[in-house]
Amino acid sequence: MGQSKAWLEWHGSTLLYRAAAVLARTVDGPVIVVAAPGQELPALPSYVSVVEDPVEGLGPMQGLAVGLAAVADRAETAFVCSTDMPFLHPAFVRRVLRALPDGTDVALPVARGFRQPLAAGYRTSLAPLIKDLLSKGDLRPGMLFKHCEVVQLSDEELLADAELMRRDPTLESVVNVNSPDDYAEARDRAPVEVVVECFGALARNGSHRPHEVRAATLGAAATAVGLTLNRHVVAALNGDQVTRDEWLPLVAGDTVSFLSADAGG
């Protein structure tokens, strides 16, 4: 790529910001980013923490071990993904994590013809096993899967989930960008369609009624309806968290409600 994928621009923010924020808006637990030793990272959402991989050059298994260990005291399972998945959808994450019942160690999608170890669910208690394998020179995820209970999820099994089928029927979630051309193609795609509604003093000419705009981020959705997120204007995503994060990634199926931060009375 010629530059760190984490820093690649993505509709005003970066690929890393998008990946971290998509996970944060999807799961209840902590979200961490594993950085290579001394790696400088772009800005991240305030609720995302960073742990540094003490060893360089051991590949994704080392990052996996560090990441799972970092959250093991707060979560039994974790969704693990790489930085460069610009179309990762929360419905995909939820579907994968639901495939991790007790007794299963890994929920491994086999999507679009490939195993996807960096878009998979892992039990956090695997961290010591992975470190042990690394110490023996087993650097490939495939070696891990030989030592634990793995559930593979085919395209059909993934898309049996109604929400995922509706929101990401071609499993674009697992598309990553491995070359400048991949990145350019992904970046040139039109942003997703999302539903917006504006309430209170922000409503103009019936804009409190739901209507669609194309926007990759919350800031872009605000711009599309003539608003700027600030101390007087906030947004609720799908009726859930209230935020002013203009870089918050939007995905197909989202509803954004803009409301006055001066609510109450």
């Binding site: 209170g200 409190h208 799908n238 009726g239 968290q241 209230v242 935020t243 109450g264």
Partner: protein, 599 residues
């Protein structure tokens, strides 16, 4: 000499038989500076004048109308006063703010507060002006709505008088009766019942003097500046749609209490929304006295007439009772105004009764969620205190639940006896803390903690230490604004509130007051309220939420569930006690001298 904006005295009025007597009550500079006026000074007066353990409806229970240094200045939204008493609904301190010319005329009788004690033999009106006080029998006003009583009293005594009156519910001492004036209400906590218990239908005041401020040119310049800022984006919501603008937004973020807090989204929200009503109905705007915001929105009703609508009355008489027809909600709001009862407590108590009927705990099969006619019938029963249901519900949901039993207290929507406002605690967890610990009970005006939840700065579904800090900050801001007194709808125009408020106070009073002193003042006022409540028997056990909020997760519109369990609330309350300098039982154990209760 009193500081600018003050007279340095209250007027104590004792009513007995057919006579009223009065005496001045000195308020020295130290007390005025420590409590500012309004809610703060009212709290201090209650400490001093309410006998410990007094029955709120007893003759000796004081009812205080309290003004402030800003009243009568050209500062926008300053024509406000506080009514303070021991609440017949909660048994604790209650304070209600209201805005009207009554504030200005009352203060310009030459007093910073008017405190009424005693009981008249017959229904009477109390007149106060520069010539003193007098009590006039007024049996002809019996049963009149407050607005009609106001008109009749001014017709009888003259248009120069300003009035505060009660409706028939106040006369019958419904526990959440209001005091009304110029169509506004001192609404929460049953102050109208306190006035009714004194057999006073209306208090009439007439300006008799003037009050000077320390820096008149400075005040005029500040007033011009504040007025200009009051037209900015921070008040746009209030100007353009009024508080009813909350309804659709709150529905979108799953914090619109529905059917007695069994849900937080309402399928009929769109029909009741300000955004819709503005397109479908004629709407007029109005302002309180001395206000440049103009938040009142008055909607035309089908079949004629109009009704002022606010978020709280629409929430309480609409979604909370499952009613979605705007004209039925308009009618219910109008009926509350006529009777003189608090719409929040009325709606909350009736919604609780509707759930009791659903559960087979009350044998009133006509009282069903969603039935607007039943809502009106229940309101009438409350206003009349009709035997059975009316008498039961006139006491509020907490006492009614004690009568009905069978665990119905668990879903009575109240804290300390005061019914919850339209903010779902499970999906606004800073607000949950504010509602639990506030002195007045479940209250959205003395703790505007929802601001933090809706700011985007905190996770509103996971209350923790940051939420404690935010709840205290909003409570402190409210304590100062409610005491100095400025309308809280102005709060968003201040970039550095305590500093700017100190500057305003300095111009009016001449005090060399700064932000740090005002922060101390806020803490003092909050502590003084809590100290009063503790004196009257409140304990840490009162700082909680209804069991439903702590045991039943709330499904959000997104499909996620909001959970607020007892441990999380307790943890936040413990953090609140620590930060407020209270002991583990929530008692004020330090700095009592700072409260100046020996002054």
């Amino acid at each position: 000499m009193a500081p600018g904006g003050f007279f340095g005295r209250a007027l104590i009025v004792d009513v007995a038989g057919q006579l009223a007597t009065s005496a001045p009550y000195e308020l020295d500079d130290r007390v005025l500076r420590a409590y500012l006026g309004g809610v703060g000074l009212g709290t201090w007066l209650l400490h001093r004048l309410a006998p410990p353990g007094v029955d709120p409806l007893a003759p000796e229970a004081p009812l205080a109308f309290v003004f402030s240094s800003l009243v009568g200045t050209p500062l926008t939204t300053s024509a406000k006063f506080a009514v303070v008493a021991k609440s017949p609904l909660t048994g604790l301190l209650t304070d209600a703010l209201a805005s009207s010319q009554f504030a200005i005329a009352g203060k310009l009788t030459g007093h910073d507060a008017i405190v009424i004690r005693g009981r008249a033999d017959v229904l009477s009106v109390l007149l106060i002006d520069g010539d003193g006080v007098r009590l006039e029998p007024a049996p002809e006003l019996a049963g009149l709505a407050a607005a009609e009583a106001e008109s009749a009293a001014r017709e009888r005594f003259g248009r120069t008088w300003r009035t505060a009156a009660i409706g028939p519910a106040g006369e019958r001492q419904v526990s959440y009766a209001t005091i009304s004036h110029d169509g506004r209400h001192a609404g929460r906590g049953g102050l109208g019942a306190t006035m009714g218990a004194k057999n006073i239908k209306a208090v009439l005041v007439r300006a008799a003097t003037k009050v000077s401020v320390a820096d008149q040119p400075g005040v005029l310049a500040a007033a011009r500046d504040l007025r200009k800022r009051s037209f900015g984006p921070a008040t746009a919501k209030y100007r353009e749609l009024g508080t009813l603008a909350n309804l659709l937004a709150f529905n979108a973020v799953s914090t619109l209490p529905t059917r007695n807090f069994t849900a937080a989204t309402f399928e009929g929200a769109q029909q009741l929304a300000a955004e819709e009503l503005h397109e479908l109905r004629g709407v007029a705007r109005n302002s309180c006295a001395s206000c440049s915001i103009g938040c009142e929105h008055i909607y035309s009703r089908k079949g004629g007439g109009s009704q002022r609508m606010e978020y709280e009355n629409v929430f309480a008489l609409g979604p909370l009772c499952g009613v979605s027809d705007p004209d039925e909600v308009f009618a219910a709001s109008a009926r509350c105004d006529e009777l003189g009862i608090d719409t929040i407590s009325a709606g909350g108590t009736i919604a609780w009764a509707m759930e009791c009927v659903e559960r087979g705990l009350l044998d009133e099969p006509w009282l069903r969620f969603g039935d607007g006619a039943a809502l009106l019938r229940a309101l009438d029963a409350i206003g009349e205190r009709s035997p059975g249901l009316g008498e039961l519900l006139a006491q509020g949901s907490r006492r009614a639940a004690a009568v009905v039993g069978h665990g119905s207290i668990d879903f009575a929507p109240q804290v300390k006896g005061l019914e919850l406002p339209g903010y779902e605690p499970r999906s606004l967890q800073t607000m949950a803390l504010g509602l639990a610990v506030n002195a007045r009970g479940a209250d959205h005006n003395r703790s505007g903690a929802y601001e933090a939840d809706l700011s985007g700065d905190l996770d509103r579904l996971a209350g923790g230490s940051a939420h404690v800090t935010a709840a205290i900050a909003t409570e402190d801001r409210a304590a100062v604004m409610d005491s100095m007194i400025l309308c809280k709808f102005l709060r968003g125009v201040f970039d550095d509130p305590f500093t700017e408020w100190a500057a305003l106070l300095a111009l009016v009073t001449g005090w060399q007051v700064d932000a740090a002193e005002l922060r101390d003042t806020a803490r003092r006022i909050v502590r003084a309220k809590r100290a009063f409540n503790m004196r009257e028997g409140a304990t840490a056990a009162d700082d909680t939420l209804p069991a439903r909020m702590l045991t039943t997760p709330l499904e959000l519109g997104s499909g996620r569930h909001a959970t607020l369990d007892a441990d999380r609330l307790r943890s936040m309350i413990a953090g609140y006690y620590a930060a407020r300098g209270l002991d583990e039982e929530g008692r004020v154990v330090t700095e009592i001298p700072d409260l100046l209760l020996d002054a």
